[in-house]
C-alpha cells in the first residue's frame, strides 16, 4: 500500500516537472507573431540561398530573425532584449553604433576609388541620389512619425545598411530592427527594383551611350584621395566622423602600399566577423512583439519609396548633366542608379542593363564611380541628420 502511494506521488512529481518543462518550451509560448516572423526569416534564407540575393547579409539576418523569434518563457536570460544575455551583449555593438564603423573600415579596404578619381564629376551623381533620403524624411513626417523617427526611416533611401543601423541606433532605437531589415531587404532587391526605375526614366538612345574609358590613376592620387576626403568631409560634417573616418582609413590602408596585412584583415576577416555579428543581432532584434506593428509596415512602405526616389534622382541627374556635356563626354544614365550606396550591387545592375542593350557596352567600372560616391554621400547625409536631430 505504502509502495503504491510512493509510486503515485513520484509520478505526480514527474508529471508536475514535465508540465513545468512544457511551460518553458517554445510550444507553450508561441503566438501568431512568432510564426509570421519565423516565416519571414525562412523567406530571407530562401531568397539568399536559392536566388543568391545578397547571401552574405540575408543568411545571417534571416537566421537571426528565426533565433530572435523562438518563443521562450521571459526571464531566462536568452532574449536579445534581456539584459546580460549573450545576444544582448552582442547587440551592444549595434545599439552603441560599434559595428557600422568597423564595416565601413572593411568597405574602405575593399573599395577601389580609381573610377571615381579618374572621372570625379561622377561624385555629383552620388550626391543627387541622396535625395531619396530627404523625400522619405518629409513623407514620414507627413505620415505622423516624429522628427527622429523620420530621420531613421529616411536613411533607408541611402541603401547603406551600416549607415542605416548607425543612424537609427542614435535617433530611434525602437525602430532598429524594422529599419535594418527594410534597408537590407531593399539592398538585396536592388536587381529587381532598380531596373524598373532605370527603364522608366531613360530612352533607348540614352541607354546605348558609350562612355570614354577612364584614364589611368597614379598611386599618389589613390593615396591622396582618402586623406583629402577625410579632411574635407569630416570638417564639414563632424558627426559623420565614425563612418567616414573609418571608410577613408580602410582605403588608405589599401592604397598606401605599406599596410598590406592590415588592409587584408580589415577587408577580410574583420568585416566578415562584424557582418556575421551585425546580421545575427539585427535579425534577432526583430522580435514579433516589437516588430509586428503598423509603424513597421509604414517603415517598409516609406523605405521602398525612398529607394525608388533615390534611384530616380541619380538617373535624372545624369540626364541633367548630359545637357552640359560634350558628345564624347556624355554619361550613360544607366549608371545613375549606382548613386545609391549599395556597393557593388547597384553598379552590377548598371553593368547588366548596359550589356542588355549593347553587348559591347561595359559600364561596371564607370558605375563604380557614383556607387562609391554614394557611400560618401550617404554618410555625409547621415551626419547631417544626426547633427540636426540627435
Amino acid at each position: 500500500m505504502l509502495e503504491l502511494v510512493a509510486n503515485s506521488s513520484f509520478l505526480s512529481f514527474i508529471g508536475e516537472n514535465l508540465q513545468q518543462f512544457y511551460q518553458f518550451t517554445g510550444f507553450a509560448n508561441i503566438t501568431w507573431g512568432h510564426i509570421i516572423m519565423i516565416c519571414i526569416g525562412l523567406g530571407f534564407l530562401f531568397l539568399a540561398i536559392k536566388y543568391k540575393f545578397e547571401p552574405m547579409l540575408l543568411v545571417p539576418i534571416g537566421f537571426g530573425i528565426i533565433l530572435g523569434n523562438i518563443p521562450f518563457y521571459p526571464g531566462m536570460d536568452v532574449g536579445i532584449y534581456e539584459e546580460g544575455s549573450v545576444l544582448n551583449l552582442l547587440y551592444f555593438g549595434v545599439v552603441k553604433g560599434l559595428y557600422p564603423p568597423l564595416i565601413f573600415l572593411g568597405i574602405g579596404a575593399l573599395t577601389d576609388f580609381s573610377s571615381l578619381i579618374s572621372n570625379p564629376k561622377l561624385m555629383l551623381v552620388g550626391a543627387a541620389a541622396q535625395i531619396g533620403i530627404f523625400i522619405a524624411y518629409s513623407a514620414a513626417l507627413a505620415f505622423g512619425y516624429t522628427g527622429a523617427e523620420a530621420g531613421a526611416i529616411g536613411i533607408i533611401g541611402g541603401a547603406d545598411g551600416p549607415t542605416a543601423i548607425f543612424i537609427t541606433s542614435k535617433l530611434a532605437p525602437d525602430f532598429l530592427g524594422a529599419v535594418a531589415v527594410s534597408a537590407y531587404s531593399y539592398m538585396a532587391m536592388v536587381p529587381i527594383i532598380q531596373p524598373i526605375v532605370m527603364k522608366l526614366f531613360t530612352t533607348k538612345k540614352e541607354r546605348l551611350i558609350k562612355m570614354k574609358p577612364a584614364r589611368p590613376i597614379s598611386q599618389t592620387e589613390k593615396i591622396l584621395f582618402p586623406i583629402v576626403g577625410v579632411l574635407l568631409t569630416t570638417f564639414i560634417v563632424p558627426s559623420a566622423i565614425p563612418l567616414l573616418g573609418m571608410l577613408f582609413l580602410g582605403n588608405l590602408l589599401k592604397e598606401c602600399g605599406v599596410t598590406k596585412r592590415l588592409a587584408i584583415t580589415a577587408g577580410g576577416p574583420l568585416i566578415d566577423i562584424v557582418t556575421i555579428l551585425i546580421g545575427i543581432t539585427v535579425g534577432a532584434s526583430t522580435q514579433a512583439t516589437t516588430f509586428l506593428t503598423p509603424k513597421s509596415v509604414g517603415i517598409f512602405v516609406l523605405g521602398a519609396c525612398s529607394f525608388f526616389v533615390a534611384t530616380m534622382g541619380g538617373v535624372l541627374f545624369v540626364k541633367f548633366m548630359n545637357l552640359f556635356l560634350s558628345e564624347e563626354n556624355k554619361i550613360n544614365p544607366l549608371i545613375g542608379n549606382a548613386g545609391v550606396s549599395a556597393v557593388p550591387a547597384a553598379a552590377r545592375v548598371s553593368h547588366d542593363m548596359g550589356l542588355k542593350y549593347d553587348k559591347s557596352n561595359y559600364l561596371l567600372m564607370h558605375a563604380m564611380g557614383p556607387n562609391v560616391a554614394g557611400v560618401i554621400g550617404s554618410a555625409v547625409a547621415a551626419g547631417i541628420l544626426l547633427g540636426f536631430l540627435a
Binding site: 571615381l116 578619381i117 579618374s118 570625379p120 564629376k121 561624385m123 555629383l124 552620388g126 550626391a127 543627387a128 541622396q130 535625395i131 533620403i133 530627404f134 523625400i135 524624411y137 518629409s138 513626417l141 507627413a142 516624429t146 522628427g147 527622429a148 523620420a150 530621420g151 535617433l171 584614364r215 590613376i217 597614379s218 599618389t220 592620387e221 591622396l224 584621395f225 583629402v228 576626403g229 574635407l232 568631409t233 564639414i236 560634417v237 560616391a373 560618401i376 554621400g377 555625409v380 547625409a381 547631417i384 541628420l385 540636426f388 536631430l389 540627435a390
Partner: protein, 298 residues
C-alpha cells in the same frame, strides 16, 4: 633624448588633465538645509554640487576646494588623492557635504557654509586661477532654497533656483528634444531636405573640384614624364648602341618575372643548417614505473 620624450609626454598628459578639469563647474549650493537632502549618515548639512560638463570621466583626487569665509579666512579641503574612486563621470554630478569634519569620507569637507563668502575649485597645485568659483551672499540665503547655474534667455547665470535638485540638472522645466525643436520650425521637412542636399552637394562638389585639379596636374606630370622618357629613348637610339627598345609585352613579362622573384624571396637565408640535440633527461616524476600499480606480493 629620453628626458625630452618624458617631458613631452608629461606636458601632453598634464595638458589633457587640465583640459578635463576645466569642464568641471560648481553647479548648485544649498547653504541652509533644514528639511532637505540628507547625507549618507542621515544628517542634513549644507552641500554643494559640482557638474562635469565634458564628455570624459575626470579624476577629482588631489583637487582643492577652497572656502573663503566672510572674515577673509580661507579653508582648504584637498580631495584625497588616494581615493581611486574620487572621480566624476561625463555629464554627471557629485555632491560635497559641508559638515566641517572630513573624516566621514571623500565627499565631506572640513569647512561648513555657515559664514561662507565664496567657494572655489582649484587643481592639484592649489595655485593659480580657480577652475570655477561662486560667490555666495549669506544674507540672501533662504531655508531649503538653493542657488545655482540656470539658463535665462540663453545665458547661464548663478541665481536662486525654484527647485532643489541635488545630483540632477537645474533646468527642471521640460526640455524639448532637438528633433522636436527642429520640427517646430520645419514641419514639412522641406528646409531639412534643402539644407542637407546643399551640404551633400557642397562636400562632393569640393571633392570633385579638388580631384579635378589634382587630375589635371597628374596628367601634366605624366605627359612630362612620357616626353622625357621618349627623349632618353630617342637619344639612346641615335647613339646607335645595342640597346634596342623593348616591346610592351616584353616589358610586362620582365616586370612580372621580377615581381614573382621578389615575392619568392625570403628576408634572409643564412643557408646554415643547425641540428640541436634533443635531450630527454630522466626524471622520477615522469617515470612510468611510479604511475603503475605494483603487483602485490603473495
Amino acid at each position: 633624448m629620453k628626458v625630452i620624450y618624458i617631458l613631452i609626454f608629461s606636458l601632453i598628459t598634464l595638458g589633457s588633465y587640465a583640459q578635463g578639469l576645466k569642464d568641471v563647474r560648481i553647479n548648485e549650493v544649498l547653504v541652509k538645509n533644514l528639511t532637505n537632502y540628507e547625507d549618507d549618515y542621515g544628517d542634513r548639512s549644507s552641500w554643494f554640487e559640482i557638474y562635469n560638463t565634458g564628455h570624459a570621466r575626470i579624476k577629482l583626487g588631489g583637487c582643492n576646494l577652497k572656502a573663503t569665509m566672510i572674515d577673509g579666512t580661507v579653508v582648504n579641503y584637498q580631495i584625497p588623492i588616494s581615493d581611486k574612486h574620487a572621480d566624476i563621470a561625463p555629464l554627471s554630478y557629485r555632491i560635497f557635504y559641508c559638515t566641517g569634519s572630513d573624516y566621514k569620507g571623500t565627499y565631506y569637507t572640513n569647512f561648513t557654509l555657515d559664514n561662507i563668502k565664496s567657494i572655489a575649485l582649484y587643481d592639484a597645485s592649489g595655485k593659480g586661477e580657480a577652475i570655477d568659483k561662486v560667490d555666495i551672499v549669506i544674507g540672501d540665503q533662504v531655508n531649503d532654497v538653493s542657488v545655482g547655474n540656470k539658463k535665462v534667455d540663453n545665458t547661464v547665470i548663478f541665481t536662486t533656483l525654484t527647485e532643489v535638485t541635488p545630483g540632477a540638472t537645474n533646468e527642471t522645466g521640460y526640455v524639448k528634444p532637438k528633433s522636436v525643436k527642429f520640427l517646430e520650425h520645419d514641419p514639412t521637412g522641406g528646409a531639412m531636405a534643402f539644407t542637407a542636399i546643399v551640404v551633400v552637394f557642397t562636400v562632393l562638389c569640393l571633392l570633385f573640384l579638388i580631384f579635378k585639379l589634382i587630375g589635371v596636374y597628374m596628367v601634366r606630370v605624366a605627359k612630362r614624364k612620357d616626353t622625357n622618357s621618349k627623349r632618353v629613348k630617342d637619344s639612346a637610339n641615335t647613339v646607335g648602341n645595342s640597346t634596342s627598345s623593348y616591346s610592351g609585352e616584353e616589358v610586362a613579362a620582365i616586370a612580372m618575372a621580377l615581381a614573382l622573384y621578389k615575392e619568392d624571396l625570403h628576408d634572409k637565408e643564412s643557408t646554415i643548417l643547425t641540428i640541436n640535440r634533443v635531450a630527454r633527461a630522466y626524471s622520477p616524476w615522469s617515470s612510468k614505473i611510479y604511475g603503475l600499480r605494483q603487483t602485490p606480493r603473495k
